[in-house]
């Protein structure tokens, strides 16, 4: 019997994935546990392991295929003694060409996707364009709205529904089309670049075509865009800023790092830990939320979620965007544990190898731009969280101590809060508590 390898579901909600890379080729022998492919979802890259051993008879889905449906056949292994060529042939015949995702080419200029030849499944112009079908699967939209959006090259996620309970209906798609004036014919005609949404042609019109090029968005960029728009549009943000004196914290950090035991490894000896200021800030945020539990909340229309732990997301810049892996129950973890966990999360984040449960949820976040010399800034809240701490650079500033101007290391922190869940006085209390912990950092060791 041949062994079928299908597209795995990397998360319960995953419907499609991109087959980024094959790590084996046809004819290769694989053993159980061998990594054979890399699958990309919107936020993570995962490895697919072979569950059995055999010879790769056929790679059904080519590398670089986008929006491959979960559970669709991606490869076939021939078992020992089987003729790989025959297995490949059988598998393809069984599978039928329909299951192989259509190459993702825009059918610009071919006109309507209908009519469908008689006798064939007429299923949907929508499905003939795998991009739009997959992209819109979880969106509440009428069948006609889906099809109109697909035909117009509009992204349903960017359209606000006006139907019952926010359902996207025909008039919403048509309004979106009108908003863009004439459709972006230029982009569509070019064929290679994806057509910009119709409402973008007005933007492009103000630039000379020879002066720019359009780079298609990576999935993660679209997720970032969508989530931040949602956040800024729906969450009433307000901001509270305080300056924290870092002198005590920097001294403590230096003392702790000096005290780190040295561990001998193959590649040489290294201290057991090396705390960063950021590790201490993460812990400080976690402890502050523990001390001001009224601010450790998330807003729901039906009620307030009061979190029992401080799960702190930390914004990490990655090549195509950013991601916020989460340190769970950070208030209970030691600084060295936080530090070690953070190093691992950052490393895997940069490789796009975080699992969804490692970056989803969280009760607050830290965004630190201190390393870029930023004095202060305001961050956008990461829903469903109600707060985020924006950390500026620690720098020598003139400050007044005991009536005299002295130099001290000062760091500005700006808290963004969801006013639905956290009122001004509460936000001030949280920031004050954070400042207190930073300035009396022994609290981080308890």
């Amino acid at each position: 019997m041949s062994i079928k390898i299908t597209m795995p579901a990397l998360s319960p909600t995953m419907e499609t994935g991109n087959l980024a890379k094959w790590l084996v080729k046809e004819g290769d022998s694989v053993r159980s546990g061998d990594v054979i492919a890399e699958i990309e979802t919107d936020k993570a890259t995962m490895e697919v392991e072979a569950a059995d051993e055999g010879v790769v008879a056929k790679l059904v889905v080519p590398a670089g295929s986008d929006n491959v449906k979960v559970n669709s056949l991606i490869a076939v292994l021939a078992e020992e003694g089987e003729d790989a060529a025959q297995v490949a042939k059988n598998a393809l015949a069984e599978n039928g060409s329909a299951a192989v995702p259509a190459p993702q080419q825009q059918q610009a200029g071919t006109g309507s996707a209908l009519p469908v030849p008689a006798g064939q499944n007429s299923a949907a112009a929508g499905e003939q364009n795998p991009v739009s079908a997959a992209k819109t699967a979880g969106i509440f939209a009428s069948p006609l709205a889906r099809r109109l959006a697909a035909q117009a090259g509009l992204n349903l996620t960017a359209i606000t529904g006006s139907g019952p309970r926010g359902r996207i209906i025909q008039r919403d798609v048509e309004a979106a089309k009108r908003a863009g004036g004439a459709a972006a014919a230029a982009g569509a005609a070019a064929g290679s670049a994806p057509a910009p949404a119709a409402d973008e042609s007005a933007i492009l019109a103000v630039f000379r075509p020879e002066d720019y090029k359009i780079v298609p968005h990576q999935p993660i960029r679209k997720v970032i865009a969508r989530r931040l728009v949602e956040s800024k549009q729906h969450i009433p943000h307000f901001y509270v800023t305080a300056d924290c004196n870092l002198d005590a914290l920097l001294k403590l950090r230096s003392d702790l790092n000096m005290a780190a035991p040295v561990i001998k490894k193959e590649e040489g000896s290294a201290p057991a830990y090396r705390l960063s200021v950021n590790d201490m800030i993460i812990k400080a945020v976690a402890v502050a939320l523990k001390r001001v539990p009224d601010a450790n909340v998330s807003w729901l229309d039906s009620g307030m979620i009061r979190h029992k732990h401080s799960d702190i997301g930390v914004a990490v810049a990655i090549p195509d965007g950013l991601i916020t892996p989460i340190i769970r129950q950070a208030e209970e973890k030691s600084l060295s544990a936080i530090s070690a966990e953070m190093k691992d999360l950052i490393k895997r984040a940069k490789q796009m190898k975080l699992k969804p449960e490692e970056y989803q949820g969280g009760t607050s976040s830290v965004s630190n731009m201190g390393m870029f010399g930023v004095k202060d800034f305001a961050a956008i809240i990461n829903p469903p969280q109600a707060t985020i701490f924006a950390i500026g650079a620690g720098e020598k500033r003139a400050t007044v101590k005991d009536g005299a101007v002295v130099s001290a290391d000062i760091m500005s922190v700006t808290l963004s809060a969801d006013h639905r869940a956290v009122d001004g006085a509460l936000a001030a209390e949280l920031v004050q508590c954070f400042k207190n912990i930073i300035e009396n950092p022994l609290a981080l060791l308890i």
Binding site: S112, L114, P115, V116, P117, A118, G119, S122, A123, A124, A125, S142, P143, L144, A145, R147, L148, Q151, S162, G163, P164, R165, G166, I169, Q170
Partner: protein, 482 residues
Amino acid sequence: MVYDIIIIGSGPGGYVTAIRAAQLGFKTAIIEREHLGGICLNWGCIPTKALLRSAEIKHFCENAKDYGLTLSGKVAVDNSAVIARSRAVSARLNAGVGYLMKKNKIDVIWGEARLQGQKNGQTQIEVHKPLKPAYQPQHPVPKTVLGEGVYEARHVILATGARPRALPGIEPDGKFIWTYFEAMVPPKLPKSLIIMGSGAIGVEFASFYRDMGAEVTIIELMPQILPVEDSEISAFARKQLERRGIRIMTSAKVIKVEKGADSVTAHVESSGKVETITADRLIAAVGVQGNIENLGLEALGVKTGRGCIITDEWSRTNIAGIYAIGDVAGAPMLAHKAEEEGVICVEKLADLPDIHPLDKSKIPGCTYCRPQIASVGLTEKKAQEAGYDIRIGRYSFAANGKAVALGEDQGLVKVIFDNKTGRLLGAHMVGAEVTELIQGFVVAMNLETTEEELMHTVFPHPTLSEMMKESVLDAYGRVLNA
């Protein structure tokens, strides 16, 4: 007492609006001068359905042998009993509206209303004795009603409906020239009948009186009967009606009517020739016109046009606080349009979220002649005129198992899709029970279906509804049973 909302007219538009207003917490009253339920319940939709049911059962009895049944003797029509049943049906629903008003704590004010003026953001309405007596017989006035006087409301919704249109020189006289009022309660059945106009009302009476044994001639000004219907459906219906012995003249105009001792003679001009047709009675069914008179519209400066009150998409007139819904606010003059318009109007007043104006392109229409006709959306011609590249599917009753088993194998289902998007633009049906089928397509259209969802919907077997799916499949070259 100042009401939040007073509705003038208790037809299907008015009384449904009143209930919705009361549900939304508005202190609501309704003013009626003749009959709760309006023309629809008392002199229109409902009593005619009762008459047509009598006609249908007579037809079944006369064809019992086709089903292996022997009826000894002749099926005789007891005219007064047929009418009595129709009136009883109407009376029951009329009383039902009274009950609904009471249950929803809606005050019923009995009399004719006239807008007096507006001050302090309120409109004053004078309620007085009707200027003209109501058509008789009427159902009894509800027991607890408020009487004449001046009433005040923050919002006034005009739902005064419409009445038969009279053509100059052919004015209904109640004796020889009838409107639907007289046609619904004939003292005796006419042996011959001329029907002017082949809209729903004209064709339904033609169907009824033909079944009751009268010689019927329909005279229609337009080139097809049922002018608003798809021409293919209209042609199909015409053939069926003619097969039943109804004479139909289209592109024909009644230029003169002469009354005899107990007959009328119509001079009918058609393709340049004038023909005289004599019959016992003539029914004028040339449309209806809005009831905009004696309402005090002029006093407030409420704008009217083409016999109707001019409103915006939220049923607002040009005067703040005054609204109009239903027939008096313009076409399509259908009870179900009036109801929805009224509901949207008061929901908008309540400032409910996500309220949208009525989409008039998705209002179904039904005609209860034999065979029945039902439709929603664009006709083939209208779709072409609108510039759509269309795709049409058809399915015949002759190929449907249930239709054949019922002995009702004459009919047609026709669907029209936009070729580009797969949007269902229109659905048109003629045949048995199609008035009950059409709603499937109406729901589909309102949910914004494409052909795909309809093709993947499981229709129960054996039913007439299977023809709906087959017609969709046919539009895409995939019909199964044909």
